[in-house]
Symmetry: C2
Subunit: 304 residues, 2 copies
C-alpha cells in the first residue's frame, strides 16, 4: 500500500460538512478555508518532522531541525501562491533536549520564520522517546486564487524552478553546496506568489518527494498525463537517480496555459520548461518516450 492509496481510501470516507468553510480538503499541499465574507482564503498545512525519519541527529544541528520544520510548511504555502501569516509549533522532546538543544531548535525555527514575517502563534510541548514535531503553517491568498494541483490541462507547459537532486546528493556527499541544500532548504515563497499573481500558473505543487512521484501526483490530481521531453535541470554532481527520485528539494513544479510567458529566471532562480501535459493516457508520466515510475520517497511504500 502506498501513501497515495492510504490517502485516497481515507478521503472517500471523509465527509465535508457544509458549514466547515473548507473549500479544498485532503489531497493538495494545503487545505483551503474560506472565512465568512472575507476577500481572502486561508491556506492551512501541517507537517511532521520525526527524528530518524526526516532528520538524523548525527547530520542535523538543532538549528537545522528548526529550520527544516518551518521550511516544510512554508514550502506548502509557496506551492499554492500564499502569503505566510502564522504558524504553530508542536514539539515532543526526547530526554535531555530541554535545555540547550531546545533553545537552538527554536533559534533555527525563529530565524526562518522571521525572514518570512511568520508569527509563531502557539503550539504544544510534550516528551517522547525520540524528538518529533508537527508544524502548522497558515497563509492567505485572495479568495479563490490559490494555486492547486488539479488545474493542469492538456497543452499546458510544465516547468520547474531551480535544479533537482541537490538535497539527495547532500545526504550522501561532502559537497558543501549540496549539504547546505539538504540542511537548509529555501522555501520558494516569493516565487509562489509571483506564479499566482503575474504568471497565473494553471497548477502548482512543491517538490518534496522527488519529481517522479510529485509529477505523477499532479497529473493524477489534474486528470491528465505528463510528457517530459526536455532535459531536467540537475544540481551539479547529482546522479540521474537523485534528479528523478530524490526528495526534499522544495523547488516548485508548475504548469502554464499555452502562450503564457514565463521568464527564464525569477530573483536568480532558473525557471525551466521540461515538457507538457497531454490528454490522459495509460502512461501517467512519460520521460523521453518511456514510462517514469513514481519511485520518489513514499513513507508507506517503504513500509510494506
Amino acid at each position: 500500500m502506498t501513501e497515495i492509496d492510504i490517502i485516497e481510501r481515507l478521503r472517500q470516507k471523509l465527509p465535508v460538512f457544509p458549514r466547515s468553510g473548507i473549500v479544498l480538503g485532503v489531497g493538495d499541499d494545503c487545505a483551503v478555508f474560506r472565512p465568512k465574507s472575507s476577500p481572502e482564503d486561508l491556506l492551512v498545512t501541517t507537517d511532521l518532522l520525526v527524528e530518524g525519519i526526516h532528520f538524523l541527529p548525527s547530520t542535523h544541528l538543532p538549528e537545522d531541525v528548526g529550520h527544516k520544520a518551518v521550511a516544510r510548511g512554508l514550502s506548502d504555502i509557496a506551492a499554492m501562491g500564499g502569503d505566510p501569516r502564522f504558524c504553530l509549533l508542536s514539539v515532543a522532546l526526547a530526554p535531555g533536549m530541554e535545555g540547550a538543544w531546545m533553545g537552538r531548535f527554536y533559534r533555527g525555527a525563529l530565524r526562518l520564520a522571521g525572514i518570512h514575517k511568520l508569527t509563531i502563534a502557539g503550539g504544544d510541548l510534550a516528551h517522547a522517546a525520540r524528538f518529533t514535531c508537527d508544524v502548522v503553517v497558515c497563509g492567505a491568498v485572495p479568495r479563490g486564487e490559490a494555486l492547486t494541483r488539479s488545474g493542469a490541462r492538456p497543452g499546458d507547459s510544465i516547468y520547474i524552478s531551480g535544479a533537482l537532486g541537490g538535497s539527495a546528493l547532500g545526504l550522501e556527499s561532502r559537497s558543501s553546496a549540496a549539504r547546505n541544500r539538504h540542511l537548509r532548504p529555501e522555501p520558494r515563497v516569493a516565487l509562489g506568489r509571483f506564479l499566482r499573481r503575474q504568471v497565473h500558473a494553471s497548477a502548482a505543487m512543491d517538490l518534496s518527494d522527488g519529481i517522479s512521484l510529485d509529477l505523477h501526483r499532479l497529473s493524477v490530481a489534474s486528470g491528465v498525463s505528463a510528457v517530459i521531453d526536455h532535459p531536467l535541470p540537475s544540481f551539479p554532481g547529482a546522479s540521474v537517480e537523485q534528479v528523478l527520485h530524490g526528495g526534499e528539494d522544495y523547488e516548485l513544479l508548475f504548469t502554464v496555459a499555452p502562450g503564457t510567458r514565463v521568464p527564464r529566471h525569477y530573483d536568480g532562480i532558473p525557471l525551466t520548461r521540461i515538457g507538457s501535459m497531454i490528454e490522459r493516457r495509460r502512461m501517467r508520466v512519460a520521460f523521453f518516450g518511456r514510462e517514469l515510475e513514481p519511485l520518489g520517497y513514499d513513507h508507506f511504500r517503504l513500509a510494506t
Copy 2:
C-alpha cells in the same frame, strides 16, 4: 523548569508581525486569527498525543486513541466558546500499525468529529518508533467574542462544569464509569458556546491538567488571585489528590461577573460555584485558607 516557565520564556522572544492577523497568540487554549473583513474570528489549537505519554497501548484501544486525539482539540475550542469547523490530523505510525490499527484509530477520530460536524481537511502521514499524532482543530466565534483565560476580575465568581478526578481515577481503577471518563472524554462544546452566548463568562479554559494547575494558570493570565471556599464537586470514588491535581477531565473552568445568573445545570451537566476571584495576593490560589500548589500534570516539571 516547568512548562509555564518554558512557554513564558519563549513567548518573550516571539514577535507578532502586524500583517499576521493574529490577535491572541501563545498562552491561551487557542490562538485567535482575525480574517480580513470577516465577522468571525478563527480559533486554532494544536495538541500532541504521544504513545507512552498521553496513552498506553495496553489501556487504550485504537478507537480510544482516535477519540482522545480529536477530543483534546475540541475541548480547547469549547474553552473559548467556539463552533468547531475543521481539523487536520498528522499521524506517525509505529511499525505494524498500517493496517487494522490505523483503520480503527481513524474510526474513533471520525466518530467524534462527526458528532461535532468537524470536517477532516488534511494532515500528514509518517512513521516513527512510537505512535505520535498531532491534531489541529479550528473553530469560529463572532469577531472579538472568544472567551479567554485573561478576563477574570476581582469579585468574579469561579465555576466548574461536571465533577473532577474521574479521569485520574479511571487510570487506576476498574470502575467502569471512571474508566470511560478517562478513555472517552466528552469535550464540552455546547456548554462552551452557551457560556459565550448566554452567560457571557468573563474568562474560561478547559481542565486538562488538574484544577490546581489550571486555576493557577487562569489566575496568572488574568492578573488576579483565586479563592476556593466551596467544596469541589468530585467524581464518585475519586481521592482528594485526584480531584485537585488529576488531569484530563476536560471539564470547563469559568468565571462570571458579580450578579451573573448561572443555571445549576446545562444539558444535564452540573455547573458548580467553587469560589471567587480577588485582587492579586501572594497566594495565587487559596483553598480553604491555605495555598494550593499547582501540582497538576506538567510535562516539564516531571522531566527536570
